[in-house]
């Protein structure tokens, strides 16, 4: 697992209070991990803070699963 993936998962576990093994790439924040719309906004903000990137709203709308978050960040974060 990439460094980005493990950091993303850690944020999701912390913010959504879910078990680590529920945080699979296919898991949807709202349908599988119990997030509501405010939780999702907060997650995006945490990703921005953790990885020091700005995720525009129109991009954020396309991030609804763990895998989508990881792949977006892997493409857009400068290591």
């Amino acid at each position: 697992m990439s460094d980005i993936a493990s950091r993303v998962k850690a944020i999701i576990v912390e913010k959504l209070g879910v078990d680590e093994n529920e945080v699979t790439p296919e898991a949807s924040f709202t349908n599988d991990l119990g997030a509501d719309s405010l939780d999702t906004v907060e997650l995006i903000m945490e990703f921005e803070k953790e990885f020091n990137v700005a995720i525009p709203d129109d991009q954020a709308e396309n991030i609804s699963t763990v895998g989508q978050a990881i792949s977006y960040l892997e493409k857009n974060v400068n290591n």
């Binding site: 209070g17 906004v41 907060e42 803070k49």
Partner: protein, 417 residues
């Protein structure tokens, strides 16, 4: 319209003296002070470095980690005391009409910690707004009754009463009125406050409202003492289950006491100072007496607002003497803030609980920390100084007064079928 009788069927408390009603009452009748150096933040640069904090509270006993993180401490406190009250009342919501069960909750300020932290974080940044999406719904005063309704599925009347330090008394009077008018069967009422943080202590310090007796926190809250120098900040929550008598009897509930009446008024005088002759205080108390269809001699105990500020304690005393006449000297009077500190918007709730238990147990909790009589206060009054007193308490009146000049008094009496 015939008004219904309203009774108290459940209590919950999270206070600086203890985290349950039993622990709170035990602290009250034993004259324990809840004051100690502040632990919630580094207060070393503040004029006041002590407060009456809630001790040993773990929100995770009441909610999971995710839920706890999304609510301000004043809501965590509200949920803890409400859980206790609901259990105490034996309410089984799945067997009741939850459309007729409401929540009316008081808080003076609401999520001050959340507000302070979010704004501080913005101020430290470069002007780019990065507010947390839970900022507003964590901070709002009315989110407390909102969370309580969601926790239990209660769809009756639901809102907050806000009148600074009178807030939870206003909430209880509202609940009393809705039930007696037949608009709800049961209402969870009371209030919570959590303002022991940099903004709360710093803000009240700026007003010279707080005691600065840093060398002796436990004796700092000394209502009616000559050397009182301000109030001591407190925090916590009190929950009271009010219920129509017929509803309580139908489900075989235990009954602590009956609500006899409520009175409300404004000073129309000053933003923070009480009226020097206690005009608004008198008006609130006299309206409560009239509402209860009492004569003044029917009151045995007054749990006073008595915050330990130089001016307020004098005007409240004057108001009592003026209103109750000779009977004023037969009353027991006490300020339980001498022990709990001032819980602001939750003060009315925990002081109503003290009054209810006083009526139930025939014990008056004391005003502790009395060392020196104040010549400006009539010390022929029985302030229940330093030790609890046993007496028959048929009825108790609880006073609360808030910044803005809001006054609210509620009377509870022994329940007789």
């Amino acid at each position: 319209m015939e008004l219904k009788r309203v009774v108290v069927t459940g209590l919950g408390a999270l206070t600086p003296l203890g985290n349950t009603v039993a622990a709170y009452w035990d602290g009250l009748i034993n004259g324990v002070s809840g004051a100690a150096p502040i632990t919630h933040f580094d207060a070393s640069k503040f004029k006041t470095q002590f407060a009456c904090e809630v001790k040993g509270f773990d929100p995770h006993e009441f909610m999971d980690r995710k839920e706890a993180r999304k609510v301000d401490p004043f809501v965590q406190y509200a949920i803890a005391s409400t859980d206790e009250a609901v259990k105490d009342a034996g309410l089984e919501f799945d067997k009741l009409d939850t459309n007729r069960i409401g929540v009316i909750w008081g808080s003076g300020i609401g999520g001050l910690k959340t507000f302070f932290e979010e704004v501080a974080s913005f101020a430290k940044g470069d002007g780019t707004p990065r507010f947390n999406p839970f900022f507003i719904p964590k901070m709002l005063v009315d989110i407390a009754p909102g969370h309580i309704s969601m926790r239990y599925g209660l769809r009756g009347p639901n809102f907050s009463a806000v009148s600074a330090c009178a807030s939870s008394t206003n909430a209880m009077i509202d609940a009393f009125n809705y039930i007696r008018m037949g608009m709800a069967d049961v209402i969870i009422t009371g209030g919570s406050e959590a303002t022991i943080n940099e903004a709360g202590i710093g803000g009240f310090n700026a007003m010279h409202a707080l005691s600065t007796r840093n060398d002796d926190p436990k004796t700092a809250s000394r209502p009616f003492d000559k050397d009182r120098d301000g109030f001591v900040s407190g925090e916590g929550s009190g929950a009271i289950i009010l219920e129509s008598l017929e509803h309580a009897l139908a489900r075989g509930a235990k009954i602590y006491a009956e609500v006899a009446g409520g009175g409300m008024s404004a000073d129309a005088h000053h933003i923070t100072a009480s009226h020097p002759e206690g005009l608004g205080a008198k008006l609130a108390m006299s309206k409560a007496i009239a509402d209860a269809k009492f004569s003044y001699a029917d009151v045995d105990y007054i749990n006073v607002h008595g915050t330990s500020t130089p001016v307020g304690d004098i005007s409240e005393t004057k108001a009592i003497i003026d209103l109750f006449g000779d009977h004023a000297y037969k009353l027991n009077i006490s300020s339980t803030k001498s022990m709990t500190g001032h819980l602001l918007g939750a003060a009315g709730a925990i002081e109503a609980i003290a009054s209810i238990l006083s009526v139930k147990n025939d014990i008056v909790p004391p005003t502790i920390n009395h060392f020196t009589d104040d010549p400006e206060i009539d010390n022929n009054l029985n302030f229940t100084f330093n030790a609890a007193q046993k007496r028959v308490v048929n009825a108790a009146l609880s006073n609360t007064f808030g910044f803005g000049g809001h006054n609210a008094s509620i009377i509870v009496k022994k329940y007789h079928s």
